[in-house]
């Protein structure tokens, strides 16, 4: 595999609130190579979105990157000043957001919002900029881009708006795209179209992609590797096929078991008991131990990263045994 374009090591992003320190991202490491899609899976509040914002340098106070490094193309983004970070954002690292209804400014026309993304980074004539915007809209499958450029966001459907947001993200052919649940708010048919477009564009341009989602079935069909996050930590990483076929962390096992499947029709769905712990009051040691069927006294100590199988990394003292696997391969 090619050298990673993004290498996140021991990233810690903490929110210093009045009620205490919330460790939204705690000691997270992963890497993404050009042309690769890395899925980041977790429940709400697991820190997956904050990870994305940390890479973009868009964590707002009281949040702050408190440790670790984010090496992008050989340069550590942690500690870059605003101006240097701004020149990277949108140009070499782009982001797509979850809710297409909210990502476009309702009072500005599409052409304004697209052209400003171009002129923020390059000097370009108005006519040339329009041409590039038209091309970008055409590329994501928006018909009659000429008229569409003159429209306002409210004249688009949700799926169309997400296509526009993707077109904006692709304007500069970024080397890395961070997609924060971009298809969660869309209908399944639209979701499939968008996923197809993204897969095509990523492989055409050899773009690295971080796909943040809570939906394992999307990851199963899209990503090459997956990182499972729980309570601010990556608890399991590996290739998608291996992790889904043979989860090693009890949380991943529970997550896969919660996906409805045709082969287990009629049986009650397996659930993970309990709720995500409050980020202000995480259990000592492994944060999952209060909900984990395999937890014992050993789990009161934070487990380090181990590799029970080749190229499979987990944070757990008691990896799931083969016969304990609940689910089976989730197909997209």
């Amino acid at each position: 595999m090619a050298d990673p374009i993004l290498k996140v090591s021991n990233l810690c992003t903490y929110f210093h609130t009045k009620a205490g320190v919330v460790k939204s991202v705690d000691d997270v490491s992963f890497e993404v190579a050009p042309g690769e899609i890395l899925g980041v899976v977790g429940e709400s509040g697991s820190g997956k979105s904050v990870t994305g914002f940390s890479i973009m340098g868009l964590v707002d106070p009281p949040g702050r990157v408190d440790g670790g490094s984010i090496v992008f193309d050989g340069r550590d983004l942690v500690g870059l000043d605003d101006g240097q970070m701004r020149r990277l954002r949108g140009k070499r690292i782009a982001m797509i957001f979850q809710d297409p209804m909210m990502t476009l400014n309702p009072v500005l026309r599409i052409d304004t919002q697209m052209i400003e993304a171009l002129t923020a980074h390059i000097t370009i004539s108005n006519e040339e900029a329009r041409q590039r915007c038209r091309d970008a809209l055409g590329m994501v499958g928006i018909p009659s881009p000429d008229e569409r450029l003159k429209s306002y966001p409210h004249q688009f459907s949700g799926g169309m708006r997400q296509r526009v947001a993707i077109a904006i993200a692709l304007l500069h052919n970024p080397e890395l795209i961070i997609a924060d649940e971009p298809t969660t708010a869309l209908d399944v048919t639209i979701q499939a179209q968008i996923l197809y477009e993204i897969q095509r564009l990523v492989s055409e341009h050899n773009t690295a992609m971080l796909w943040i989602t809570h939906d394992l079935s999307v990851i199963a069909g899209l990503a090459q590797r997956v990182a499972v996050m729980y309570a601010g930590k990556v608890v399991e990483t590996g290739t998608v096929a291996e992790v889904i076929d043979r989860p090693l962390h009890p949380y991943t096992n529970g997550l896969i078991g919660s996906v409805p499947s045709r082969n287990r029709r009629g049986e009650p769905l397996a659930q993970i008991p309990g709720m995500t712990p409050s980020p202000l009051n995480l259990p000592q040691g492994c944060a999952f131990r209060t909900r984990c069927p395999k937890a014992d006294e050993a789990c009161a100590v934070q487990p380090g990263i181990t590799a029970p199988l080749p190229n499979r990394f987990i944070r757990c003292f008691h990896p799931v045994e083969a016969q304990e696997v609940i689910g089976e391969a989730v197909s997209a």
Partner: protein
């Protein structure tokens, strides 16, 4: 659009009719202007003659119909006191009030919005907090007291600015105003600040609240993720969204500044409409009161119409064809 404006105009006529009837009856109910206007030692014959002259001997409904008939021809009656057309009296003083109100509104816009944005963008900073505390004083201290303090400080103690009155006027582009002379500006600064203080505070608080709301929304974060400069994000993406609530409030404030500049005009002896209406109410000068009210109502209607049209400029989701009311 045309239908919208025609409908608005019809509504305006109805509002004007209802309002004139209410004011007419109201002034009639308060008292008899003849008793105030005529000298105490006048004979009964003089009094009767005065009543006949003013048309007050007829029953109230007949007086009202006569008034309406005249009003349709653009004549709102002569002032009982000055014996001049009421409308001319008011129009004579209107420029003074208008220039005061316009300067005050401009002050509240160009001071209020930047301060409000500052406080909204840096809510935990010392400056942001001071601005918010200051704005509380701005709209909780009584207006007349603020005026007196301004005079005391800048006119009496420091002696920088004149304490009262309107400065020299000059004519420019066919408009006669004290804004074209330096002396005029020296005179208008204090009353304009006094008039603007309340509104500036209101604009500061509204701007801050809107900025706080908009800044956390996804589209602002997305704009930042595009690599836009901070100036562009705040100046275009945030600004255009907070203008929608601001235009409403500033529009209504302009109208109420013109209508209710009474306190400031009294404190600073400013020869505007506010002072005229107060004097007229004291002597029950009905034609002036009614004419004044009608002009004010017209102005509110016009400003509301402009605000509605401005909505569609700032918010593309509002289409004028959708405006049914």
């Amino acid at each position: 659009m045309t239908v919208f404006i025609i409908r608005r105009t019809l509504q305006a006529v109805i509002v004007l009719l209802v309002m004139s009837a209410i004011v007419f009856l109201g002034v009639f109910a308060i008292g008899d202007p003849v008793a105030i206007l005529i000298s105490p030692d006048a004979t009964q014959a003089d009094i009767d003659a005065a009543i006949r002259n003013l048309g007050l001997d007829k029953p109230i409904w007949e007086q009202y119909l006569v008034f309406l008939g005249n009003a349709l021809q653009g004549n709102l009656g002569d002032s009982f006191v000055y014996n001049e057309p009421a409308i001319r009296l008011i129009l004579q003083r209107m420029p003074a009030t208008l220039e005061l109100a316009v300067v005050a509104v401009l002050l509240s816009i160009f001071v209020g919005i930047p301060l409000g944005m500052w406080a909204g963008l840096r809510p935990s900073g010392v400056a942001g907090k001071s601005i918010m505390v200051g704005s509380i004083f701005g709209f909780s201290l009584p207006n007349f007291w603020q005026g007196i303090m301004l005079i005391l400080l800048f006119a009496v103690i420091l002696g920088w600015l004149p304490a009262f009155g309107r400065g020299d006027t000059a004519e420019f582009l066919g408009i006669r105003s004290s804004l074209w002379t330096l002396d005029g500006w020296a005179h208008i600064i204090l009353p304009a600040i006094n008039l603007a203080l309340f509104n500036t505070s209101l604009v500061i608080r509204l701007t801050r609240a809107s900025v706080r709301e908009v800044i956390g929304l996804d589209y602002v974060k997305f704009a930042r993720a595009k690599g836009l400069s901070r100036r562009r994000v705040v100046g275009v993406h945030v600004m255009k969204n907070i203008m929608i609530p601001l235009v409403t409030v500033i529009g209504l404030e302009l109208a109420s500044l013109i209508a209710f500049a009474v306190v400031t005009e009294t404190v600073f002896a400013w020869p505007g409409m506010g002072k005229l209406i107060i004097d007229s109410i004291f002597v029950l000068d009905r034609p002036v009161i009614v004419a004044y009210m009608m002009i004010i109502v017209l102005m509110f209607i016009a400003i509301n119409l402009i605000v509605d049209i401005l909505y569609s400029v700032f918010d593309p989701r509002v289409r004028l064809s959708d405006m049914k009311r």
